[in-house]
Symmetry: C2
Subunit: 210 residues, 2 copies
DNA sequence: ATAATATTTAAACAGTTGTTTAAAAAAAGA
DNA sequence: TCTTTTTTTAAACAACTGTTTAAATATTAT
């Protein structure tokens, strides 16, 4: 894995890169500043020199990760003027491709909200675009009003679309062992969801409720 | 939350109960044996007296949690002779009701598979009934062969059924803040999934693939 | 009752971890 | 060059954490 990220020219950036990787993988309690220092090839004192404390360093990484994650979820909601099915397709597809680049992010965010919820709430407050106000949500409401699709609470649609994707990434080590889905298999598995999830949602939305 | 679990008469059991709660909530690195001792109202030395080490105590909790979680997932797969839709309904419903009693379990299991995968693999090996061999899986295969439902890989069905449920429980602190789903709202939200998920799966399965 | 065993306690130990200090080395400015 | 500032280092500090010890207390068996 080492070598993928660009070599940072300055010490501060090198520390931040290593810290980000380790904090994201191992969480706050599981990450030791001596490990960060060693992997970055610098003296431990430099971590405090540049970032004042472990907690400050962590908070800056946490903020960065939150922004990335919010971006992954938000960026795809308001694309061009397209059909509902197409919009859902692109949402799923873009979310999957985004998370492929940062597969540890969903677990990190969920994990931190459990351990560190006050701080998370503070920095998360402005980051999340309301799903309710997205073009996708408006389209759902509109088409339900016209009788084209069934009525359903928006939070359920949001959850049904995102949770299989997010859960796939969070459960990678689990899938590898229990279902023997690993490496290239996982990529196949997750890419197949690009078709399945939108089809499933649309099949459900087109069904009239009893 | 205190007081829900029965007061243990003997010290060993009291330690185990507190340890289970804390380990499940905070993970291995986040749980301090002094916290366990204090909450159990015993001397720290007793933890080592009864369990030899923090790691041994942890492993016994981990095993217990794995068994509970496997039980939650397995128990509901092989019920009586019922229709496919009914079977999926009961599977979802029982899974949800089971996880309501142990809402921290999904996160714990996923978390431990990430941090501690070798040990998890060792103790998880015999615990999981293969979904492929369940009555639900056989019914899916059978009805697909008869052309009643579309053909789909079993692992996808398993994933689509379980992931929204499991994700709901893992994301509780997240949902509380971002979507303002909390307390009784969460119970409503999760119970609504008992109807939605089976309906959605069935709508999808009944659709013929393009 | 007495001895043997099991349980509990306070205290100390050794290793780890985040942090600080004071001096050295490097870089920048005059 | 010489001074000042910035960066880096080795070492020590203090708090924390898992573990052990040896003595005290309670329980059980004879």
């Amino acid at each position: 894995m080492a070598g993928i990220t660009h070599e940072a020219d300055n010490t501060e950036e090198k520390i931040r890169q290593v810290a980000k990787r380790l904090f994201t993988e191992r969480g706050f309690a599981g990450t030791k500043i001596r490990d960060v220092a060693e992997e970055a090839g610098v003296n431990i004192a430099l971590l405090n020199y540049y970032f004042r404390s472990k907690e400050r360093l962590y908070e800056s990484i946490l903020t960065e990760n939150f922004e990335e994650y919010a971006k992954a979820l938000n960026d795809t909601l308001n694309t061009q003027d397209i059909t509902l099915e197409e919009r859902i397709c692109r949402y799923v597809s873009q979310l999957i491709d985004h998370l492929k680049l940062t597969p540890d992010l969903p677990f990190f965010i969920i994990s931190e909200f459990r351990n560190n919820s006050d701080f998370c709430k503070k920095i998360a407050s402005n980051k999340w675009e309301k799903f309710d106000e997205s073009a996708l949500a408006k389209q759902l409401t509109e088409e339900a009003k016209e009788g084209k699709i069934r009525k359903i609470e928006l939070r359920h649609v949001e959850h049904l679309i995102t949770s299989p994707v997010i859960m796939s990434f969070m459960a990678i080590p689990f899938l590898e062992h229990i279902d023997n889905v690993k490496g290239k298999d996982f990529l196949t598995f997750i890419d197949e969801q690009k078709d399945i999830i939108p089809e499933m949602i649309m099949a459900y939305l087109k069904t009239t409720a009893e």
